[in-house]
Subunit: 506 residues, 2 copies
């Protein structure tokens, strides 16, 4: 029998608040009532969660499976699972089974709310972005730099077979330019999926693009001229800042919180001062901070922008990679009358190599088509045909379920490793989707120096300063969790953490 | 025995000066010396050319084939072919056989040299270009509008099989972003081919783009800012004008001759006045005029531009479709030190559906890569892999030989039909490559009205005014010869000609 002091110590030492809570309950209960078989089983499952075998958000064995494995009756298994559910350790999902409840997997604090300067900044990142892309594509480095999912995790063999079939059977038919909007069957599949989360789109409201990058390029061209200023979250995706730089646009960085998103007051000020031409925000699982704004906050953003006739460009590239049961609703789905240009792609979920994204808008289609046809005429036909076949086959949903689980596991393993190896005071984001982590180091570690030191050790990550037009976040960094957890990644985090510890004490 | 008057009448009536010359020689000779078997055979071949069975530039049966077919000895066949060669009717090509000599296939005059206004013009074509693209993609219309080769003529089944194979075998490997330059194997194949016509390129001097359109977009972005002026040939490809319009660029239209190309004095004036930021010219078989500038004139252009530090963007998209034995040399090949941005693609020769073009430059690569990564990050991987495999297999050269023959035939058939059906005084271009014809109507026919009337009859063509920023060429039109000659095309030309005749008399 453990004393209260012991128990309280165990909470302090735990890396996981939920697991600590669980331990307190289950250990105590086990000692007292070990003679109940269902409690033995509940304790066994709780142990698997504690030691990291079962991760938050992962599926636990079905009642039938566990009753066979542990040689208990179905009713005992059910009693055990219900007990764990009552304690908030498991959650039941209709037609799907029992899952480990989402929990704070770390005792590390979330990054502090950002405080960028309240003025537009000219962007000059092209050089550092080019250098990052170059190292990010180097297969000899441990790939924590670019947010590219590992080809192995994507396992898009089924999509490739659809492409092979389309090439063999429809090569001649499709060896021509598509209409600038792109293949109608693919647009129809995209519109059908969008309906699930309340986004009412017709196929003709959609233009297929060369990835989300071309969608953003076109959207920015539609709403702004060179010299104009766009409000963005801060920190924000460096590729977006790079595109804005090349288009001659300035960035107005909004103070952003890793949990709640952008500061509405700051956005309101920018609108009132007429200093921004558009606002560009993440629909969910923001890159790099990982936050998703609550629906009511999204609606407040739309009301604010609508009052000043400022269009919103939203980037929903990570939306399908949600660890919770429900997918975040895009801004566009919350108010169909709002002036929104919606950008997304399949590059993070199934096929970065196919370069298929899309841009949806109910207001600006004519100008979008003008830009698309002027910049690249149309996108390649057969990859669109293959993706349409893949989507209509149902293969994408099956694939997404597996992928979400894997990214979620990667993020949890990596968060634990960061807690273990990085210097005290390190803060880390807690994304409920996507596959990047944002780290804020407490001490005066310069992540640009850390980047150079890490490259020498064969490790690539994204240093913080590329995520800001005003060159902030020199003490921050982003880690991609797009490759399966294993000794190579674990060792890289140990090395990175050790380097950061050294730098923090010098 | 025909009189001199009869013979002279036959010349007047003939649609083809070469054929007329041939007729005079061969008929006269036949009557006098019909007892020589080789002359009978020569006469037979000449008849096939006269009646259009064998077209200028097409291969005639081999000596072995014709000796079997006509039951003559090999030496008789050789004597006949040599006689036709002496008369300039056939030409022998080493290792390839005998071909009908290129000849002026029409007695129609070439279009007059253009006289655009000597000042920069703001472009406002987006609406009419969108309308043309829309009708151009309508499969119900006879496709004389957009310069899109028919999928049947392209017959790219072998390329599609390479794509199917790449998808099956290399799908996982290539399911990632390529470097912004694109797949190195494809760039190596492109560099190897370029060596044949003296263009010394390393694979790293090349960036793969989404067709020639993206190559031109990036090139224009590298050399110019919104508000700048670019010198272009006039008339010029409407897609280029459309891209320039969307990029906020103005056009300085150069007087252009359908045979010799742009007016060098006008270009010199524009350079001296510092009124242009770059010059954009066709490398060969200009769209729509069809001219190719002679090498010495190209060199003069480069010297002129070099003197004023004005970069040249060249568009070589039709270069591989040459009817003569040798391929036109791009500007870049004539002077490797000149400041040239070279754009091309595979869209006109094998795979419009693949959207693979490229941009080559030895001077501006860093800025080109910045633009490419900002606008579309990189191009899809598997189509590049398939095309590299296809090129290295030698399949492209085989395919090009057939394609050149077919486009040449289409152009000749269409030119004859134009001569037959269009109103007197119609002028037509004489391209030695590519697959478009430019028509200039003598009388006050408005080709915008003709366009509307033709659409009602189910025929699409490109009206002249979309080829000019200053809205000239209302009496001109462009016809695509990208679909195989047949009754549908012939009938469409008859209908178009009849409509034009009616309009010219009202």
């Amino acid at each position: 029998m453990r004393t209260v002091t012991e128990i309280s110590k165990s909470i302090q030492n735990s890396f996981c608040i939920a697991v600590a809570r669980l331990r307190r309950y289950t250990r105590a209960t086990m000692a007292a009532n070990a003679h109940f078989r269902y409690e033995e089983l509940a304790n066994f499952i709780a142990g698997l969660i504690e030691n990291g075998t079962l991760l938050a958000g992962s599926r636990v064995p079905s009642l039938r499976e566990i009753s066979l494995q542990r040689r208990v009756s179905l009713s005992t298994a059910l009693q055990a699972y219900r007990q764990l559910e009552d304690r908030g350790v498991l959650e039941a999902r209709p037609q799907s089974g029992y899952y480990v409840a989402p929990a704070a997997v770390t005792s590390l604090e979330a990054p502090a709310k950002s405080r960028p300067p309240a003025k537009a900044a000219t962007i000059a990142l092209a050089g550092v972005v080019a250098r990052l892309l170059e190292h990010g594509a180097d297969p000899k480095l441990v790939p924590l730099g670019c947010a590219v999912p590992s080809a192995k995790l994507l396992a898009a063999g089924r999509l490739d077979r659809f492409l092979a079939r389309a090439a063999r059977r429809k090569g001649t038919t499709y060896n021509t330019y598509t209409v600038p909007r792109g293949e109608v069957r693919l647009r129809r599949e995209i519109a059908r999926r969008a309906l699930r989360w309340g986004q009412a789109l017709a196929p003709d409201d959609i233009v297929i693009t060369c990835g989300c990058t071309e969608a953003l390029t076109i959207a920015l061209n539609v709403v702004a001229q060179p010299g104009d200023t766009i409000a963005v979250e801060s920190p924000t995706y460096f590729g977006l800042l790079h595109t804005m730089e090349i288009l001659g646009l300035k960035a107005f960085e909004l103070p952003t919180d890793a949990t709640h998103g952008i500061d509405l007051d700051a956005l309101g000020d920018a609108c009132r001062n007429r200093s921004i031409k558009a606002c560009l925000l993440s629909s969910g699982f923001s890159n790099p901070l990982g936050y998703t704004m609550a629906d009511e906050r999204k609606l407040a953003v739309l009301r604010l922008l609508g009052r000043y006739d400022v269009p919103l460009i939203e980037d929903d590239i990570y939306g399908d990679i949600h660890f919770d049961r429900t997918r975040p609703r895009p801004f566009m789905a919350l108010d169909p009358n709002a002036d929104v240009l919606y950008c997304s792609s399949f590059s993070k979920t199934v096929a970065p190599g196919y370069r298929i994204g899309w841009l949806a808008s109910t207001r600006h289609m004519q100008r979008i088509l003008e830009k698309k046809s002027a910049f690249s005429l149309c996108s390649p036909a057969l990859p669109q045909v293959a993706l349409a076949d893949f989507l209509s086959s149902g293969g994408y949903d099956h694939h997404l379920r597996r992928l979400r689980r894997e990214f979620n596991e990667n993020i949890q393993y990596m968060t634990r490793a960061i807690e273990k190896h990085f210097p005290p005071g390190t803060r880390v984001s807690r994304p409920a989707g996507g596959f990047v982590l944002w780290l804020e180091l407490a001490s005066p570690v310069d992540t640009r120096e850390l980047f150079d030191a890490a490259l020498e050790k064969g490790i690539c990550f994204a240093p913080g300063d590329v995520f800001s037009a005003s060159k902030r976040y020199r003490n921050c960094l982003r880690l991609s969790c797009g490759h399966a957890w294993g000794p190579a990644i674990e060792n890289a985090l140990r090395v990175l953490g050790t380097l950061a510890r050294k730098m923090s004490t010098t």
